[in-house]
Subunit: 365 residues, 2 copies
Amino acid sequence: MLNKKQVVQALEKVMDPEIGRSIVELGMVREVKVVGSRVKVVIALTIPNCPLKGVIAKDAEEKVAALADGLDVQIELSTMTAEEKKRMTDTLRGQSGAGAQEQGSLTGKLNRVKAVVAVMSGKGGVGKSTAAALLAAGLRRDGLRVGVLDADVTGPSIPKLFGVDDAPVMGPLGIVPPISEQGVKIMSINLMLERKDEAVIWRGPLISGAIKQFWNDVFWGDLDVLVVDLPPGTSDAALTVMQSLPVDGVVIVTSPQDLADMVVRKAANMAEHMKVGIWGIVENMSYVICPHCGERYSLFGEGNAAGMARTFNTQLLAQLPIDPELSRLCDAGQVERYESAEFEGALESLRAKLKGVAVKGSSEH
Amino acid sequence: MLNKKQVVQALEKVMDPEIGRSIVELGMVREVKVVGSRVKVVIALTIPNCPLKGVIAKDAEEKVAALADGLDVQIELSTMTAEEKKRMTDTLRGQSGAGAQEQGSLTGKLNRVKAVVAVMSGKGGVGKSTAAALLAAGLRRDGLRVGVLDADVTGPSIPKLFGVDDAPVMGPLGIVPPISEQGVKIMSINLMLERKDEAVIWRGPLISGAIKQFWNDVFWGDLDVLVVDLPPGTSDAALTVMQSLPVDGVVIVTSPQDLADMVVRKAANMAEHMKVGIWGIVENMSYVICPHCGERYSLFGEGNAAGMARTFNTQLLAQLPIDPELSRLCDAGQVERYESAEFEGALESLRAKLKGVAVKGSSEH
């Protein structure tokens, strides 16, 4: 005959996928009732519309159902009370070793981000955000746990590219980032604005503050890689990311124009100056294929991305065409559906770079 | 028989084209010698390699030669001593009404800038700097006195587009901006850097300081229009320009991508918020013409610049193609040589806007 203890033991194996801890340990199992072959479990979620509620419920149901044949398992979902939340955060804080006074750093301590890659360019409009999105989407297709931190506070493109516009939820463990179609976690100022075309008229310190908050106060959970999309320029946003986030490497995006070359080199020089490794260079808008006659030609002259790669002792990861299909998918919020042979090589190199970087909590910086 | 006084009277009509005052009044005529039909004039220039020395010498020679037939006029150029410079600036300061303690504002008081137009975009890489350059070059072709202030401190493109790379000279009246092939005065941080690809890793307050200095401490002299090229974004640079410079209007540059539309609208909303009039919208990269088959097609989808113009109650000034010839001229520093029928309409509207704006000294703000 099944007893309550067995059910709880089974539920101990159900993990909250966000927090990476057992739902029993987190105090999320509020009630377990066993009457004959009927089992009722009430699970209290950390936030009302937890995007992972379906996953947790299914997992719990399967784990309990596996205890015996012919069980009638009923999982009921509820939301934690303030009291329950407090107990959970206290437990986590105790485990993370943080004292009671360090309330603010809890989120950071719980995040386990294996690698941080910043995508930068110096020059705007060369397709930096698109490259960041393709990079994130490609690594996600490999099965990695991927987040994108949009550090372009005054010109945020990431939510639009991924078709995400849910406001982030304030959970007990920090700001919970919304998740794209393919499972990439997204954080951007534009998710917080009432109107997407609202201007964020902020001077540098506020920009820096927002970026630090996106790192410290967002509950990224376990990530294999966090891709940071930097704005053009080498001012506050880039400085804050390189100084306050544990950036493992930068990917530089350029275009074939001479003018881009000069400005993009400024960004690469900044990375060198800040002692951040340059993992490679992506040349975008390298060529175009006429939809009428099929001829391939260069719109902006022949670029010198290979020369730039040599100067900075790094690799030319890819040369991408201007592809109307990519534009269409970007405008439709479906950048994740784009696959290109040209970008595959870039991903291959980055996969190699990602091996061997150390795990870090976001509060370490 | 010609006498010295007649020569000096003739020289009173020779203006220093920069300062807009007579070279006699400025104390630049150091010596006048008349022996029979031979006249020798020594003119002391404010700076050793004054770019306008040829103009001044020729003008002086002609004015003196016109006094009588068969004169042998010899103009000798020298440079002002520290004492002479001090006397000149004291004279100018007295005329401008500034007290002796207000040394710093002299340059600002001497500048007479009729109109300030800021070119902004929010989004990078839509061709904002190119549009600013085409605008300046077009107005210059009309015979207007035009300056370009490059407010994109971390990604400056203006000197490259105009093919200017002389360092600005520190004259007695302020920083003297170099002048392009067609006579446009240029000021940009990149003229000050030893290496053009050096990163300017500055936080907001330094960026703002540089922009204010480009306005207050640069000796623009008499300008019909100063075109300000803003960086992407709605942070420090844009704020400083809109708050510290007497901007008469902004021209917004966009591209047909949905993504650009959203980010560019942020910039337009900022202009509205800052109560700066939007003089019009330029859509760049609207289409491309295949060099092989001659077909015209859009690379980035059909844009909505007309809709944006309606939203902000302004005009769509132009829709420009991606033109490899323009790219080539930009890369070669010859943007001024580009003429396009598409841009002519934009210039026509702006000429109308420029009529009726009030003259202002740069120290008024």
